[in-house]
Structure formats: structure tokens, C-alpha cells
Amino acid sequence: MTVPLLEVEGLSGAFRSPGGEMTPVLFDVGFALQPGVITAIVGETGSGKSLTALSILGIQPPNFQRSSGRILFEGRDLLALPAEEIRAIRGRRISMVFQDARAALNPVFTVGRQLADVHRLHHGGSAAAAMCRAIEALRSVAIPEPERRARQYPHEFSGGMAQRAMIAMAALVCAPRLVILDEPTTGLDVTIQAAIMELIAELVAERGLTACLITHDLGVVAETCANVVVMQSGRVVEAASTEAIFTRPRHAYTQRLLAASLLEDSAEPVPA
């Protein structure tokens, strides 16, 4: 095994209610992201998969309180870094793609302008040069007529095209080591979903990126990811290579999840 790019160790935490009550939601979560491949974090509603991902970037909800744990990235504990150092990592070293791309883009600026602004923020240079890079990035994610598309606003993009633009921003313009993708294809049609997943796999293979895919869909995982982390109710129940998870699942929950995903009759009801 190579040295992981990122390691989450013993991450635990709870939500604080307005009355001060603590509800534990993450229990000793630990996993590693190997460089140059896609690792999936799979789980159902309430498994803690998104919260874990948001914690990596330090953008967890304000009422979440960590009680223990470390997140090691390139040898440094992200959770112990001062705010300005986290900001230097966020976007530039670790970027994120969200589920609803049209909601994540700013509706009052053109898509090209938003990509160009991000480029200048991270890499400097003139506005004109940044716009050229933005158009280049849109071309790289197979958006047709990138010059014209760059002048359009997010509402003029379809969901699939907007997600391509977000991936262009997060994976190309930001030029990070690690991209976290939070349900990037949920809500997209299957043909569009397949094309987006192909694009992500291509970018990872060609540019030496590392990706962490948060998803509830084991089908998406089987074709594109190298490793899988299965979470249930705030705990990691199993982590292994994709092949091992799909052909030799060891934890009962993984087995049930697989059966339910395939709608096999052996699918036992999973307790809530």
C-alpha cells in the first residue's frame, strides 16, 4: 500500500440542540484515501457520510461538535490548523463538488466569470487570461461551444451541463490534490449520470487526481471506484477494495445493502 493522501482517524462528534442537548452522530470514524484513485463513501440517510466529508473541509454545520479525532492530509492534522491555513487548503488543495450544481453556482454571474474568478483567486493573473483558462476548462469537460457557454448564466445550463461546469471548476480550475464529490449525480438522469461518472473517472486517471465520492448508490460505485467505505448510523462498518466489497462483503449491513440495491429477494429488512 502506498502512503494515503488523507486519513481520517477516530472522528467522533455530536449535534448540539438549541437546548444544549448533545446527540452523538459520528462514532470513531476512520478511513484512508489512497492517492490517484476514487474512494467511495457509501451509506443511507443518516449514515454520517456527508458530515464526514464536510468535516474534511471544515465546513460542517455549526451545531456539530467534534469530540475527538484527526484528519491527516499531507502529514498535517486539518482539524488542528488555524483558520487561515485551512482557507489556503480549501479549494486550492482540496475542492468539493456538491449535489445540485445549479444551486451551488451563483445565479447572478456568468458561468465563465465564476470559473475565471476562482482561477484568479488561486493562481492570480489577468482577468483575460483567467477567462481563457475558464473556457479551456469547460472544453476539457466536454461542454459544447465553451466560448458561448462561458457567457451564459447558470439557469441557462441543464443540470448535467451545470455539473460539468462545477467539475471543471473543482477539478481543473482549482487544480487540487483531492476532490470531494458529494452525490454529484443524484437527481440527474441515468444517461447523464453515466456520462458525468465517466468524466470524473477520466479526470482522475489522466490528471493524477484523488477523489472521494460520497454516494448512496452502489451501482455508481461498482464501475468507477477503487475502494469503498461503507457507513451506517455514524460508523464505518466495512472498508475494502471495490472488488472485495462487491464479491466478498463481510459485514451483514454491506450484504443487506448490496442485496437491496440489486432488489434480490434475499434482501432482509434493514432496521432503521
Binding site: V190, A222, L257, A260, L262
Partner: protein, 321 residues
């Protein structure tokens, strides 16, 4: 097919819905669709966003007023019906919606939700309603204790069970299920599908099952109709469609669907670009410009949906040749 003609619960002919979008242009959401659902069977409508599958369901019930064509429910034409007769018709056909959070009134208890159709459709007295409500809870795998709950006190799966109980209350013979499991986790999805299958057998229900989830469709449907850009491009028995899809759109759709199996490599048929605008579509095949099999003739006229035997229909002469 048996020799006796099956009893047709729902029949639509040339059902059309066009929305005017200004400057004399029309958005053709539903473009002359024919379809039949027989008693006790499940017909699945599959297709992506904008294919018209939800518009078709809503037009069939006149929740959206169609702009052309006719619908018969249990043999009765639906379009001439007045408001009162239409309301009475909803005893025979009910709908289950995708998101039970949105389709259940948050201020009504489960009891009120389930009592309402009993009161409105069957004019049942209170005592009888309560007994029937308890039976319905039992049928959908809930208990009488759930009757006192509000929707927010239930899980997503339980809420969808309440949606199903409400739909069954007036004893319809057809349910229109519009993405009934799309907002549920996979483990809950299986339970709801199992429930629907059991109820279908027990009550002899016919289902018009709308879904974009091909795995679910394969599991549930007797027949499948594939929709694209407002029209049906292919239909037939589920097994036939999944094992030998003919229309290039069906093939692209099936080959794009992710399967939770390691090493399940498939030959992917790719379509170019994205679904085109449904505003004033040209008289050409709906897939023109995206199709890998495209020939010159495809752009000159719309290929009709033809009977190709074995209960299948297909709107692609190129795939047949």
C-alpha cells in the same frame, strides 16, 4: 395472451398536451400517446426528465387538462365528465406520489388522511370509517397506533405506506404510482415494492408505474413503455425489453443504468448531446441528432409506433431493418 380479451382498466388514445409558450410557439409535453393497462397488470412508464411520463399520468386523470385525445377509465370516457362525475371517478383510480412529505398534509393526522377518502367517496359513517382505517393500516404494514401520528413523526417509508393506504381507501382498481420509491433509501425501497406487489395480488389492482429507476421497473412491471420527448418509442413485455431492447434510445438508457455488481462491464450505447427542446419539434424522429444509427430518412418524417409482434411496439424502422 389468452383468447378472451383482457378487461382494460385504462385506455388512452392520441393523448396530447401542448402548452403555449408565447409568440405562437407550443411546448409539446405529450405527443399523441396511445396506451392500455389491463386489469391486474403493471405497466411501467420509463423515461428521463422531460419525457412526458408524469404529464401522461396527470392527463389521464385530468389533474392536468389534456389538449387532445381521449382517455377511458373502466370503459368510461373521461374527457366529457363534469367536475362531480370526475370526482366520483377518482373512486376507481387513485394516485400515489413521489414525495410523501409533500403529498401528505402536515397538519392532518394519519387518521384524518385515511378517513377523508372514506368520507368523500364512500360516505361512510364515522364508526365504520374507523374500522376501515384500522384494516387499511394493517394492509400497509402499519398499526392502529400510527393513526394518531402526524406525518413528521413517521419515517419516509412509513409516510409512503400512509400514502398507499390513502390511495387504497376507496377501493380503486387502478393505482397510478408516480416514482413511489424515488425519495427512499434502497433498503426501504425494497420493502415498499414488496408491499405493492402483495397488495396487487391480494386486491387485483392494476398499476401504472412511473419510474426512472430501471432496476425497480424490471422488478415490478409486466410490460414497459419507454418514453422520450413526449412520446412512446418502444413498448413490450418487461423481459423482452430488458433482454432485447430494439430502439436505440432504450438501448442507451439500459446500457447507462448503473448496476451494483463488480465487473459488470457492458457495451454502452452513447447518445450525442442532451434531450432537445420540446418546443415546436420538427416532423422527424425524436432522436435525430443524437442517434448512432441515424439515416437520412430519419430526419424527413416521424417514424410511427408500429406493432412488431410478440406484444411489442417500436418507433424505429432502422433498428428493425
Amino acid at each position: 395472451m389468452t383468447s378472451a380479451a383482457p378487461y382494460i382498466v385504462l385506455r388512452a388514445e392520441k393523448l396530447t398536451k401542448a402548452y403555449p409558450v408565447g409568440r405562437g410557439r407550443r411546448l409539446l409535453a405529450l405527443d399523441g400517446v396511445d396506451l392500455e393497462v389491463a386489469a391486474g397488470e403493471t405497466l411501467a412508464l420509463v423515461g428521463e426528465s422531460g419525457s412526458g411520463k408524469s404529464t401522461l399520468a396527470r392527463c389521464a386523470l385530468r389533474l392536468v387538462e389534456p389538449s387532445g385525445g381521449e382517455v377511458w377509465i373502466n370503459g368510461r370516457p373521461v374527457r366529457p365528465l363534469g367536475a362531480m362525475a370526475l370526482a366520483a371517478l377518482y373512486r376507481e383510480v387513485q394516485m400515489v406520489f413521489q414525495d410523501p412529505n409533500a403529498s401528505l398534509n402536515p397538519r392532518m393526522t394519519v387518521r384524518q388522511v385515511v378517513h377523508e377518502p372514506l368520507r368523500l367517496h364512500l360516505s361512510m359513517p364515522a364508526e365504520k370509517r374507523e374500522r376501515r382505517a384500522q384494516t387499511l393500516m394493517d394492509m400497509v404494514g402499519l398499526t392502529a397506533a400510527h393513526l394518531d401520528r402526524y406525518p413528521h413523526e413517521l419515517s419516509g417509508g412509513q409516510r409512503q405506506r400512509v400514502g398507499i393506504a390513502r390511495a387504497l381507501a376507496a377501493e380503486p382498481n387502478l393505482l397510478i404510482l408516480d416514482e413511489p420509491t424515488a425519495s427512499l433509501d434502497v433498503s426501504v425501497r425494497g420493502q415498499i415494492l414488496e408491499l405493492l406487489r402483495r397488495l396487487q395480488v391480494e386486491l387485483g389492482l392494476a398499476y401504472l408505474f412511473i419510474s426512472h429507476d430501471l432496476q425497480v421497473v424490471r422488478h415490478m412491471a409486466d410490460r414497459v413503455a419507454v418514453m422520450y420527448l413526449g412520446g412512446i418509442v418502444e413498448s413490450g413485455p418487461t423481459r423482452e425489453i430488458f433482454e432485447r431492447p430494439l430502439h436505440p434510445y432504450t438501448r442507451a438508457l439500459l446500457s447507462a443504468a448503473p448496476v451494483a455488481r463488480f465487473g459488470a462491464k457492458r457495451q454502452r450505447l452513447r447518445l450525442a448531446g442532451e434531450i432537445p427542446s420540446p418546443i415546436d419539434p420538427p416532423d422527424a424522429c425524436r432522436l435525430v441528432g443524437r442517434c448512432p444509427l441515424q439515416q437520412e430518412s430519419c430526419a424527413s418524417r416521424r417514424p410511427p409506433l408500429l406493432n412488431v409482434g410478440a406484444g411489442r411496439t417500436l418507433a424505429c424502422p432502422v433498428a428493425l431493418a
